[in-house]
């Protein structure tokens, strides 16, 4: 039972991390109609910036803040230099162009930081465990990830649904020309939105870097998970991304923890130990396939055309 609670919390934490990544992806897709494979690179850059700046400044929070600003700037630079020209092209062009960016960033990181991974060290006040319930200890860092991600999710919701900028973003998603004709600088707005998505991805990356390490290519596998999240949630829908991300995080974590044991009930021990890992890594893709069969547009399709 104790383990189960811990696994659920881990699942929730992975889910929220996925949400930070998926939110940027789905925002950019929903508003600019752009498929961005380089989103995982921003996640990776966030992790490397985070590790570098915390080591450089010696202070965790300052380092994180600097890293966030840097990822935000890099995101906006990418948008202005390259991606802006891709709007309105077909999706294949997006895939190819951003694939090129991804190769570039992987190699650039290798060139700057070297092929070895980079550690992000936690300050002592985060690196301990606290008792959630009597007898249920949990890492304070993982808990703080959950809290931070929830706060960010709320802020994002507030920004998009309750502020003037959010209103413009939503208006730009449904009719770009009309918003531009009303005297709004839509280009700047797009750049800002892209930077926001980049900063969210970078935040997810640096939070993950403290648990694992910052590595080249770390963004690619989780990017595909984020794709699964937005397919399940419905592309363009932030609410869908939030629910689907937590769903996927829970299924993946809990499935990996318990599926091998569950299989042991039906299969021989050797069969279960072979099929277990394979099946549990397939689990979320199977869920995705089922969702697609039932609802090809995802669970919460965005209304924007």
């Amino acid at each position: 039972m104790l383990l189960f609670i811990e696994q659920c919390l881990n699942g929730l934490q992975l889910g929220l991390l996925l949400f930070l990544l998926a939110a940027g992806l789905t925002l950019v897709f929903g508003i600019m109609d752009l498929v961005n494979l380089a989103h995982g690179s921003l996640y990776m850059l966030g992790a490397y910036f985070g590790a570098t700046f915390t080591a450089l400044t010696g202070d965790f929070l300052t380092g994180i803040l600097l890293a966030l600003i840097c990822t935000w700037l890099v995101g906006m630079a990418i948008e202005v230099i390259a991606l802006r020209k891709l709007y309105g092209r077909d999706h294949l062009d997006h895939v190819l162009g951003t694939f090129g960016l991804l190769l570039f960033f992987n190699e650039a990181v290798r060139l700057i930081w070297g092929p070895a991974g980079l550690n992000l060290t936690l300050p002592s006040w985060l690196n301990r465990s606290i008792e959630l319930l009597p007898g249920v200890p949990y890492s304070s860092y993982r808990l703080s990830i959950i809290v931070v991600a929830l706060v960010v999710a709320f802020l994002l919701y507030f920004l998009v649904m309750r502020t003037r900028i959010g209103m413009l973003i939503r208006a730009g998603a449904s009719n770009r020309e009309m918003v531009a004709a009303l005297g709004i600088n839509i280009k700047l707005l797009y750049t800002l939105v892209f930077g926001l998505g980049a900063a969210l991805a970078g935040l997810a990356g640096m939070m993950q870097a403290a648990i694992l390490t910052a590595q080249i290519g770390m963004g690619e596998n989780i990017l595909i998970l984020a794709f699964v999240v937005i397919i399940i949630g419905g592309i363009g829908s932030i609410r869908g991304a939030f629910i689907a991300a937590i769903f996927v995080g829970l299924i993946d974590t809990v499935g990996r923890a318990y599926l091998p044991d569950l299989l042991r009930l039906f299969l021989s021990p050797s069969g279960a130990s072979t099929a277990g890992p394979a099946l549990s890594s397939m689990l979320i893709y199977l869920v995705m396939a089922v969702v697609l069969i039932v609802r090809p547009e995802g669970l919460f399709p965005a209304n924007a055309k």
Binding site: A82, R89, D93, V95, G97, G100, A108, I231, L286, I293
Partner: protein, 315 residues
């Protein structure tokens, strides 16, 4: 009057002549590195040609095409590991399995369109990649060495490098011919019609889903054969041959050469892999050059090399 002596036909003819005559040079000088490189180019050109069938003609942007390379390759590898060396058994099974995988992925993915299709094919490919990673018995992450190539009897020994090269060339040209015949048939017209306007094709009475599915399965199967060839060529299979960046490479080859052109993928594979060799000999960090190059091609050279060649007339 249509003239046959266009720059594009000239390049294609030169390329094919080069591919056919290359073993004369390599066997006289013993430069087997070059032969091995070109065997790889020919095999990947075949995979790219199969992808072009769905990507260029069918408008189905599959981002998981490398998975069939893996399915075909792993069939050979696993059978060889279990002691089954007969090519007469290995190859039909590799073909059947890649067709089956393509059928399952196709049935599920073709329910969706556009960006959903891209992401779903990507996700399914990733799923099969993870299955290969979890195959501890067959090497898992480290991959599986194949100790004996497929056996087709004494008179047809695939260990002979030149013979194997020609087998690959025959498969490549066969694939190109098959794709050519397919896209110019009634079947191909329906698939291309569905690319331009799926709803209209359905309105005039074509069950486009079935046509697209068959097209998807044919492409997957052809790529599975390429995978079987690749496994025999490298004597090794590993999950990395179906990593999603490999699928990306295949798309790059198709687009670089020219989508929806019969010989485009062949030119694309040739240029891409030659570029890879060339850039990696200049710098270890060659992808830092390749990435922006790719972006430039996307931004400024739509239609790929084939498109440029057809536009470039001497009149």
């Amino acid at each position: 009057m249509k003239t046959w002596l266009t720059p594009r036909n000239f390049v294609v003819a030169a390329l094919i002549a080069f591919l056919l005559l290359l073993p004369l040079y390599t066997s006289s000088t013993g430069n087997y590195f070059l032969l091995s490189l070109f065997t790889r180019i020919v095999i990947l050109a075949m995979a790219a040609t199969s992808l072009n069938l769905i990507l260029g003609y069918g408008g189905m942007v599959s981002f998981g095409h490398a998975v069939y390379l893996g399915v075909g390759g792993y069939t050979i590898g696993i059978l060889a590991y279990e002691g089954v060396y007969s090519g007469w058994l290995q190859w039909p099974l590799a073909i059947a399995l890649s067709a089956l995988v393509a059928l399952i992925i196709g049935v599920l993915s073709l329910r969706t369109r556009g960006v959903y299709f891209i992401m779903i094919t990507l996700a399914f490919a990733q799923m099969i990649y993870y299955v290969a990673l979890a195959l501890d018995r067959y090497g898992g992450d480290d991959g599986l060495t194949i100790h004996r190539r497929s056996q087709f009897g004494d008179w047809f020994n695939l260990n002979n490098k030149t013979l194997f090269y020609y087998v690959c060339v025959v498969f490549l040209l066969g694939t190109v011919y098959l794709v050519y015949r397919l896209v110019n048939s009634r079947f191909g017209r329906v698939v291309q019609g569905s690319r331009s306007n799926d709803r209209r094709m359905r309105a005039i009475g074509f069950a486009t889903f079935r046509y697209k599915l068959v097209c998807f399965v044919i492409a997957g199967t052809l790529c599975g054969i390429a995978g079987a060839l690749l496994a025999n060529h490298t004597d090794f299979v590993s999950p990395s041959m179906m990593h999603w960046t490999r699928s990306g490479d295949l798309i790059v080859m198709v687009v670089l050469g020219g989508m929806g052109s019969i010989f485009g993928p062949l030119i694309g594979a040739f240029v891409f892999l030659a570029l890879e060799e060339l850039l990696s000999s200049i710098t270890e960090y060659w992808q830092i050059l390749l990435g922006p190059l790719l972006l430039l091609v996307v931004l400024y050279a739509r239609g790929g090399i084939d498109g440029m060649l057809s536009r470039w007339r001497r009149d």
